[in-house]
Symmetry: C2
Subunit: 322 residues, 2 copies
């Protein structure tokens, strides 16, 4: 087999606010090449990449972009920006022969096999973890989404999802009251309307309204208020973690990721220290006669902020070896 270790990839992770760009050699990011740009300073991804070319250089044989939005026929559209990410345009600006556009959760999933243990914080440990099975990445940040990673020879096959948009499932009258509170302003209550930064704000506004207050707080303020022991913020966290456990449990039953559930994203990381004390595990396992079965799914939190870039490098390396 030829050695692809010295091949250079360009990888870019386009978020809602910032874009991170780096060069990678084989599967390893060149640490000193990593740059972060504000999207609002550029009118397109191409102009942003030309800035990266000036700063670092663009010589590469393969290029991949992860975007926080749906990808269709290899073409991605960003929900809150006027950017389209297009394989042809990407090939033109980089000169790469191999190009790929993925959603951000797929990119994170491609990083899993190469991820050092030091980047993972366990939430549920399973003794005889089935490392040859599927893995599920669940992202909770600006939005909510997941990606399933299926072993396929030495590589992973990663399937996309738009699971943040499913119905927010109410299992009791409290959940239904929250769902109806969200429907009143949004017209529909999805999982993402509860489990995301905006979701924290929605749940907080609902708990405030139950206490007769009409109070809106940003998700950052809610997270600060939780640390300060604020009562409404505390109830917000309780509701958030309970719904998060239930939804993660449902996704586990749907995908059967016996090699692990990997929680990623800023909001997942922010609530991670509270998961065990606020009943995440009990809620995840509360599935009637399947409750015992649920103990088979390991859960951890990914602490690596650059996992999407690393995953893109792995993905391009897999494409080269095909």
């Amino acid at each position: 087999m030829p050695d692809y270790g010295d091949k250079v990839s360009l990888v870019a992770d386009v978020g809602g606010t910032n874009t991170r760009v780096a060069l990678a050699e084989g599967r390893a990011l060149r640490d000193e090449s990593v740059r972060k740009f504000r999207n609002s300073d550029f009118e397109s991804l191409e102009s942003l990449l030309l800035q990266f070319e000036d700063d670092v250089g663009l010589t590469c044989d393969a290029a991949a972009v992860a975007i926080a939005g749906p990808v269709h026929d290899g073409r991605g559209t960003l929900t809150n920006l006027d950017w389209t990410v297009d394989p042809e345009a990407l090939a033109n600006v980089t000169g790469a022969r191999t190009v790929s556009v993925l959603n951000d959760l797929q990119a994170q999933a491609h990083a899993l096999l190469a991820m050092p243990r030091s980047h993972l914080t366990p939430v549920v440990t399973v003794e005889s973890k089935e490392t040859g099975s599927r893995r599920l990445v669940i992202g909770i940040g600006t939005g909510f989404n997941s990606a399933l990673a299926i072993p396929n020879g030495p590589a992973l096959m990663v399937t996309p999802s738009e699971c943040g948009h499913v119905l927010l499932p109410a299992g009791n009258s409290e959940d239904l009251e929250l769902a109806e509170f969200i429907v009143a302003s949004e017209g529909f209550a999805s999982v993402e309307d509860a489990l995301s930064g905006r979701g924290l704000e929605n749940i907080h506004a609902w708990h405030a309204s139950r206490c007769g207050k009409s109070e809106t707080r940003s998700s950052a303020d809610v997270l600060t208020a939780i640390k300060n022991g604020d009562d409404v913020a505390n109830r917000t966290l309780e509701t958030f973690v309970r719904i998060m456990g239930s939804v993660c449990g449902d996704l586990a039953l749907i995908h059967l990721p016996f090699a692990g559930i990997y929680l990623v994203g800023g909001v997942a990381r922010a609530v991670a220290p509270y998961l065990r004390d606020f009943g995440f595990v009990e809620s995840l396992r509360s599935k009637g006669r399947l409750s015992g079965y649920m103990e088979r799914f390991p859960v951890c939190v990914v602490e690596d902020d650059f996992a999407a870039l690393s995953g893109l490098a792995v993905h391009l390396d897999d494409l080269r070896r095909r």
Copy 2:
């Protein structure tokens, strides 16, 4: 590439009540070899297969069994029978060198690429159907489950699920009342508790209780009462089809099966003629701002009762060609 068309497979589909067994040449079932046995007449799958050997013969180089229950590490357990389906025992009794145990929905999914159009009844037609994308089989019969079929070279990779056991998602107070009615007797309300033969019975009992009646009917009786225009049965069907649309829509957002949703199973086939008139499509697409996006998913009903056997033959043929 060698020609595997003359290789003989043994395929068996173990349901809750009956087991179907056949021989296949390459991907084609030998029609005259198909046999159906009552499980209660046998103490194990092996003794049933020995009966098939007496009737038809067992000479084969590969054998596969589909079971209506979870498969773990290649080993299957039937929920309502005391049978374990074991690759070693299967190899011993058949003499096959290649053996495989799948759940019944995975077997159905393997049949999709070879399925003649005449076996499919369209429910939602999409003009520019993306035949290169994923397919999702959703089974509604004795139980509820799904299997995702992902293109992988010339074959399909099929992932298992236990999605019938997720929380029955309530989106309004009527749904929550039904969920609480089910919780009162079962302790937990899962999707399968509403969308299955038993689910029809549960929904019927709930609608009867709302009318002040304490009435239990078998699912077969409910289906007959629907045909006869019975009022409670009619409401049962309305609720069933609405929840079915919502759950299928959620599974579509989770798996993004742009090449189609394939409904299989006895209950799915029984309600198929009513789907359009009872609002299945509207319910499937009722996903807030994603409603337009939902129009991309084709839906059809699989009418072939032998699809699981055909799928096993395809699967074994794929394994031979690896």
